[in-house]
Amino acid sequence: MAIRFTLNGEARSFAGDGAMPLLWYLRDHARLTGTKYGCGAGLCGACTVLVDGRAARSCTLPVRALEGRAITTIEGLGRDGLHPVQQAWIEEDVAQCGYCQAGQILAAVDLLTRVPQPSDADLETIGNLCRCGTYVRIRRAIRRAARALAAQRAQA
């Protein structure tokens, strides 16, 4: 039985091992390597994707659980130009090695979708690890993105 879902807006189906974590489907089968392996145990968030718009850790999410879902990876964010979170990440010069940042960006997108004006405590619910220690600029970038998104909404 093939599992059917959409990936970055495109219909996909997968007839292989349904126990395979979505992470490996994305990286090895769909050839989208923007989603990263960091721990394989759902502890670091480098594998974060959006499932139906909500952040999920793809290394512990078996493909069989994705029937009928919409998956967005970092490659699918900001299809027409950059998402305001991506733009804020550039403006604040967040990245050092950059390996965790796709996951950080998607976690931030998820947060801002739920909490458009996050407090410090809200920011601190993001548990994605950054070994390089870019957390100071991550906070600034999320606030910058929140302002940009608010301005967009005000214009709409």
């Binding site: 390597t33 923007g34 989603t35 145990a41 490659e75 390996y99």
Partner: protein, 755 residues
């Protein structure tokens, strides 16, 4: 990381410029580190035409400038900073510049290897000082050629020509872009000697904040790391390595592994024999090769192996602590002795002693180790995240028997280095598997593999003794260290030199205390050790800066005043280690005073709050931290304010320096607060981020204020300077807040337990 670990490939530094023109009219400049081939020499049969992407600077007819990045980018920002240096002297607009990663470039003059583009390691904070020495000339010589070309075209005197943002400009207003001039410049003879460099007063790029060059690729998921390598026909491999130090395989059954869907081959990969130098891979294991990662992981999970526990089966952290106690009960090997410490101790008005414990820690880069290697009969190709590409080439040569000339090394972006990728063990493993199977192999490590098999930062017990006079001045000082040297099974290091990785004899307060002694004891351990970011500086700065505070508090002196008194007059002292040859007391004093001023040193604080500071000289840079913390009634620790100052000489990219100092601060705090690699039953205990908990955003200070001290001194790299002073500033602040002195790292819940 010591410069001896970055490859000194017998460099011939006669720097003439190699200049060529491509068919499409682009000007190529390459530093002529290697000697030019003899006139009339033919390229090897079948050799491809020179790849324009393989050369250093390429100026296109439309005036876009492509600059090659020679060092691996591990997050330290050199892929941005080094091209900035070159672009400044070439005098182009930063907006014109595109940076491309260069592969390993080593040419052979007979048997002698030479760098094609200059040194290509990422370690020891050496990339920037090396580039300062050679890259400016590459840019300046290119600019010289372009002015000459314009002079020729306009029949003008070169002295009437200036350059500005990628154009040559005549005093009379005529202009030509570098791109237009490229074909003519390519035909001119390059300068035969060094040319004048820009006056720093005219810098337009150096010293201005620039964002990292790959930001767009990173935020869109297009940046390619080693783990992302996807070569045609490659099999993906994972290894199950013996977790016991120097252990082996008693028996195994790979039937189930072989039957796993997608698995193609299973093979034993031998590791080093006990007692032999470490030369290739770290541990014996079994490799599972499959069509994709999940299949390989499932195949590995189906292996049934009984391990031989090896000669270190009884090793444990508790046993190592006991070994240190025994060692420190006896005299050790004195590695520095000024004056007569024993006499100073006998004559002292007061003697203070303290013992500190520094744990093993792992590197834990977020991208675990991986390497793609394709070994063929006569050549090999490597694509991997490395800090020492020349070392990777040597490792593959050693395990395959191929000459280095036949081995290509492509450096991917690196998802964190921290010193882990200075070792080439994971590249050697992939080469062994590719050679044994005849297939192109991408060998990847899981997080468990990474935390269980590392070259860990050394563990040690530090015993410090100070002999004080009646005024509390330090008349005698000794540091007695028992540690497991980071020189692990190194054939090139003599036993009598193992201590040189652990104690830097000219570190503060050497030469500032009249009776000064350093002593070392060798701790024997089966665990692999190696270079961690800012190697022995993290341990030594912690114990020295903590002990200074203990002296200050015990004698009623202000910790800042005591440090300033010990530094004394502004002068330069000899510093024989990496980062020397000089240590400036004035520059250390300046960063100390800066953080003290910024944190408001000396002000009264509410109950439960305290200030702490620390300063240290690391590899040519001077850094200091000051922190304000609170320890609540419930013994919770809160970091209210974190301030640091850095003097790394002339700042190249202030935005990058700030990033390194913030990142280094978090590295130092995270490690000191929570991280430890422990040993039980002859193997490492920690396996993943649940038992090796890196600091999260919520735990990190919300802000870290970085003050860059203006300087015109030659620039030092600053990838390592932010770490050593973070932990002692923290524990000094904790003491000031609640009177608890923390001497054992990690801190964890020692406060709550009422240390």
């Amino acid at each position: 990381m010591h410069p001896s670990e970055t490859d000194g490939a017998g460099i011939d530094r006669r720097g003439f410029l190699k200049v060529t023109l491509t068919a499409s009219g682009a000007l190529l400049l390459a530093p002529g580190f290697a000697r030019a081939p003899a006139a009339g020499a033919q390229p090897p049969a079948g050799a491809a035409p020179p790849n324009p992407l393989g050369l250093y600077v390429r100026i296109e007819p439309d005036n876009r400038v492509f600059v090659g990045a020679r060092n691996p980018e591990i997050g330290q920002g050199v892929k941005t900073a080094l091209p900035m240096i070159l672009a400044e002297e070439l005098d182009v607009d930063w907006a014109q510049v595109t940076v491309e990663q260069l592969p390993l470039g080593i040419e052979f003059d007979g048997a002698t290897p030479r760098w094609r583009w200059g040194p290509q390691g990422a370690g020891g904070s050496t990339s920037i000082p090396e580039a300062w020495a050679d890259l400016r000339q590459v840019g300046a010589q290119g600019r010289w050629l372009l002015r000459r070309a314009a002079a020729q075209r306009w029949h003008a005197d070169p002295r009437e020509l200036a350059t500005a943002a990628g154009h040559v400009v005549h005093r009379d207003g005529r202009r030509a872009s570098y791109g237009e001039l490229a074909p003519l410049a390519a035909m001119l003879a390059p300068p035969t000697g060094p040319v004048p460099l820009k006056n720093p007063a005219e810098y337009r790029i150096i010293g201005r904040p620039q964002r990292v060059v790959d930001a767009l690729e990173i935020v869109t998921g297009r940046a390619r790391y080693g783990f992302d390598t996807a070569e045609r026909d490659a099999l993906t491999a994972v290894m199950l390595r013996c977790p016991y130090f120097d252990g082996g395989i008693v028996r195994y059954d790979d039937t189930a592994a072989r039957r796993t869907p997608g698995v193609r081959q299973v093979l034993v990969v031998p590791g080093p024999k006990p007692g032999e130098p470490y030369t290739a891979n770290l541990a014996t294991g079994i490799a599972v090769l499959a069509d994709d990662t999940w299949s390989a992981l499932r195949g590995r999970a189906a292996l049934d192996i009984e391990w031989a526990r090896g000669p270190f089966a009884a090793e444990s952290s508790a046993a190592l602590d006991a070994q240190c106690e025994r060692l420190l009960a006896r005299p050790g090997r004195i590695v520095r002795e000024d004056g007569d410490f024993d006499a100073a101790r006998r004559a002292a008005a007061r003697v203070l002693e303290a013992r500190y414990r520094i744990p093993f820690v792992a590197h834990a880069p977020l991208e675990p180790q991986n390497a793609f290697v394709h070994v063929q009969r006569q050549r090999a190709r490597v694509i991997a995240p490395v800090q020492q590409p020349a070392g990777a080439q040597r490792a593959v040569a050693a395990v395959t028997g191929l000459p280095r000339q036949a081995i290509e090394v492509h450096m991917t972006r690196v998802g964190g280095g921290f010193g882990r990728r200075l070792a080439s063990d994971y590249v050697a493993e992939a080469a062994l598997v590719s050679k044994a199977t005849g297939r192109p192999v991408k060998l990847v490590w899981t997080r468990e593999d990474d935390l269980q098999h590392d070259f860990f930062r050394p563990f040690g017990h530090h015993h410090l003794i100070a002999a004080l006079d009646a005024d509390g001045a330090v008349r005698g000082w000794t540091q007695r260290l028992a540690s497991a040297s980071k020189y692990y099974r190194r054939a090139d290091v003599k036993p009598e030199d193992l201590w040189t990785a652990e104690l830097y004899p000219d570190d503060f307060p050497a030469a500032l205390v009249p009776n000064y002694r350093l002593e070392w004891h060798e701790v024997r351990s089966g665990i692999a050790r190696g270079s961690w970011r800012a190697p022995a500086h993290t341990a030594n700065a912690f114990v020295v800066q903590s002990f200074l505070d203990e002296i200050a508090h015990a004698t009623g002196q202000d910790p800042l005043a005591l440090r300033l008194a010990m530094l004394g007059q502004d002068r330069e002292l000899a510093y024989s280690g990496h980062g020397g040859p000089k240590f400036s007391t004035a520059r250390l004093r300046a960063v100390l005073e800066r953080v003290a001023a910024e944190i408001g040193w000396g002000r009264r604080l509410a109950r439960g709050r305290g200030l702490g500071l620390a300063a240290h000289f690391t590899f040519g840079g001077y850094a200091a931290h000051a922190m304000e913390v609170e320890v609540t009634r419930g013994r919770e620790l809160r970091l209210h304010r974190v301030v640091c100052a850095i003097d790394c000489g002339r700042p190249i990219n202030p935005l990058g320096i700030e990033a390194q100092m913030q990142g280094g601060t978090i590295d130092g705090l995270s490690t000191a607060l929570s991280l430890e690699t422990t040993i039980e039953g002859g193997r490492v205990v920690q396996r993943n981020f649940d038992d090796y908990p890196l600091m999260t955003l919520a735990q990190a200070p919300a802000d870290i204020e970085v003050h860059i001290v203006p300087s015109q001194a030659d620039p030092a790299g600053c990838g390592e300077m932010g770490i050593p002073t973070a932990a002692p500033a923290l524990t000094n602040a904790i003491f000031a807040a609640c009177g608890v002195r923390l001497r054992r790292l990690p801190i964890r819940d020692q406060l709550r337990a009422g240390a």
